[in-house]
């Protein structure tokens, strides 16, 4: 046996038919890894949300107060009508 390692011979089929067919199909868009949000962005978003909540809360409170005043006025008017 020779000292050199035996070389593997590639096996190529000599007869028979080889088919290679490529049928182009529609392409899908790829799956999308979602980007993580930076700390600054998250802080901005929470700040904005808090500010919006605060404004909304103040708004509803004002409306509630206005409603209460209106209700009081209606009651007063009702009482006056009854008295008259």
């Amino acid at each position: 046996m020779s000292s050199e390692p035996e070389k593997l011979k590639p096996v190529l089929p000599q007869h028979g038919m080889l088919f290679q067919e490529h049928v182009p199909g529609p392409v899908l868009c790829k799956p999308r890894l979602l980007p993580l949000k930076s700390f600054t962005l998250e802080r901005l978003e929470t700040l904005q949300r808090d500010a919006e909540d605060a404004v909304k809360k103040a708004d509803t409170e004002a409306r509630m107060q206005a409603g209460a005043v209106l209700y009081q006025a209606e009651e007063d008017a009702g009482a006056m009508l009854e008295a008259s």
Binding site: K30, P31, L33, L36, T40
Partner: protein
Amino acid sequence: MDPLFQALSLFRRRKYEKCIEKCTEILDKNSYDEAAWLLKMQALTEQVYVDDIENDEDGMAEGLLDDSAIASVARPGTSLRVATAGGGSGGLQQAMRPSTQSGRPVTGFVRPGTQGSGAGSLEQALKTPRTASNARPVTSSSGRLVRLGTASMLSSPDGPFINLSRLNFSKYAPKPQMSRALFEYILYHENDVRTALQLAAMATEAHQFQDWWWKLQLARCYYKLGLFRDCEQQLRSAMKQQECLESYLLLGKVYTKLDQPLAAIDNYNQGLTKFPNDRCLLTGLARIQEGLGNLEKAAECYKDVLRYDAMNVEALASIATQYFYNDQPELALKLYRRLLQLGLASAELYTNLALCCFYAQQYDMCLTCFDRAITVAKKEELADVWYNLGHVALAVGDLSLSYQAFRLALSYNNDHAEAYNNLGVLELRRNNLEMARSFFQAASTLSPSMFEPHYNVAIMAERMGDLQSAYQSVNRAQQFFPNHSDSKDMLNALKVHFSEI
């Protein structure tokens, strides 16, 4: 206990609300108490402080009407404005990596500046902010920060704390402690850049132009006002007196605004000689490379960052994204798991974990992660979660689930171009040609830089024998992704066909 001491302690423990209340009490008793006044000012500032090196939101007007860029037609590789979805060098990236609506490859991390950047045309810019997911202010000076300022004023019942128009700045400018706190209050809490600039100018003068801190603040004001050359001048002058990390970072931002990425890289490298291996400078470098489309180089820079700061979320996420789209989901999975260990349990992270698990063939964890993502997600994130779930269903072979998932994605965000395209492909399989065509149409109008819908329309037209429109569509697909081999083949086949006629 002394109320001022109590207020100071509250401030140190970051209980700003209570601290402000305490200070107000003290000021009610004695309205000339400067210490309480100063403390209240600082507490108010801290409440709404956002690091403005990180925070630069580009408004629509800045993106479009911006004439601070030096070269209107920049040479390749020297501008951040050109959408580089194709990698600039004409790689095969588009076949692997999806792009954002403005045609840039998706990144692993999103910052205030990257949300809506790079709108090329007026039409695109006007279209982008209409979606709920990436609403963009018209200009940055009327943007989120100003809204924050006015909202905080609305919520205080008896008007603003300091009436700026009645303040005598020349009295405060020479007092170092007072003027600095006042400046920060005006800039961050009131968002009144002009007044802040006025104070900074007076203070610089009062310090005989020898105080680098005031020069830095002047530069900051100029930056916010969009006067980039003045800003650069102030920064250079400040650097001469004191080498400071912040000035390098700000200068990098100035060059980015002027669309001079190479100058920005130079500046960061110069900074790195003074502050070796600084994480912020390395991150800046990586961001510029990412903006230029050199994703490989960007990943290398991010790896440098990780060497010195192993918990850097931006670096971890960016490298993970790079691995995932380079066909190594196992490595991406490892990095995302590390992020989960760091305590970052958001819907985005769970979705990414699920996708990585699926493509790394760890099927047991995949659906659990999606479950978690759906429970954690807010409404605007759900669209993308369902879109990705649709992909997994498609790969498993559950076509009806994937159809429903894409539909759900559209119900949460009806501008989801990719979901439209994939629905179109599914409809094509069901032989609903008209439906498929309208889905593709919707996809291509929503995201004009995508090549998929054009190519799909071409395939559909070719099958129906409408070779003329197939030719037109495939040409359009080629325009957006020149190296797509299937569309090249189709184009050649069509050309042969036409020449035979």
